[in-house]
Amino acid sequence: MTLDYLSAAAGLKTQNQFNRLHIDLERIMTPLEFSGLVAQAWAGELPLKTLKWLQKLRRLSPTMEGAPQPYVATEICKRMTWYRAPSRKWKSVTTPLLPLIRAIGYRFSLPSTNQKPVLVAFCGMADRVGLPLPFLLQALPADEWDVIKVTRIPGCHYLRPGSEAADLDELLTLVGTELSRVAATDVTCAGVSAGGAPAVFAALHFDIRRCVTFGGGLSDDLMPLLTELTANQPTVNNNRKSFGTEFLHLHGASNKLDQKHAHRLLSLSGGRVLALPDMENHNIPYTLLRQGRFNAKFNSLLHGDLSLGDEWQAADVQT
């Protein structure tokens, strides 16, 4: 627990001052830190305005207080942070064959890395993945995932008008450097809203297993860049492009703008578009969370099967 809430909240009086602190915390706080805060609340150490905020969060993720996922944050740079559980120590291996193996001079060669699957999560304009970070992390078992959170250029979009290519190059270099450093071989991208297009960019550039966008946006001025990225890729079935990556673009069935963007992304990446029924809200993850449909399904969406039909009643959209 590194979060010193009481120091951060010292001197705050108005609801807006507390909201400022809480919005900022929701962008960086881990489930462990949330659980620590709740413990402080039970001990009567926190002000009333904090309790109301915590109560709202507790209702949305029943497991986070008692069994928080043990992610720990490590900042890579202002725009990128790792969330990983502390690594476990290797257990010593004993086998009756060990003396024989040593006698014949064989040397064990252990893998140099024990890297788990990595989720690269591209935030929307509010610098979060549609919902407070602890909810996202709590939905992803820490023994199954390491997570990199990526945010836009501070105060700007991911790609600034006039320097799109340079900004994209920098973004891909940042992400690529980290993936190479940990020798990640199983990588998934998720992108929410304005993070949708960067997630697709990254998936097209790297050897990404799966890319899921949630109300992903793709503006007109980014089309040339994406077209260039996809230009040399193989074209197969029904003239739809197909890559090694599984692409899934989710949008609310009642949100026409998101539907348009999802189909734009589909036209460049291939894969599938799924429309979530009775959903108009642009913020899909938070809507699903409030409806109680997020926690159970998000993990399998990212590295299980893609049969969302039952849980999210999503309908495949034919192009």
Partner: protein, 92 residues
């Protein structure tokens, strides 16, 4: 609200909307409408989510000291109502 107060509060509202939109300013027609009093601008038409409204209120408080909160906004309909609410805050 008198025109002078209205004019003084226009930059506050524009700044608050900018904050709500992740620091991207509103488009020119909306700015013009706000400068004319914002009577016809319904809060629901701004399409802000709860997080954006929090940012809006934080910005208003930072600029004016008026402790406008999302709960207050639930009882207001237009940007003009917001201006009136701010102007009525003690010390404005």
């Amino acid at each position: 609200m008198d025109p002078v107060s209205q004019q003084l509060l226009s930059p506050v509202l524009i700044e608050a909307i900018t904050a709500a939109k992740a620091n991207f300013p509103p488009d020119d027609p909306l700015i013009a409408a706000i400068q004319q009093g914002g009577r016809d601008i319904k809060l629901t038409d701004l399409n802000f989510d709860s997080l954006a409204w929090m940012e809006f209120c934080i910005s208003v408080e930072l600029a004016t000291g008026a402790e406008l909160t999302p709960e207050h906004l639930e009882h207001l309909e237009t940007l003009s109502d917001v201006s009136t609410w701010i102007a009525a805050w003690p010390g404005q």
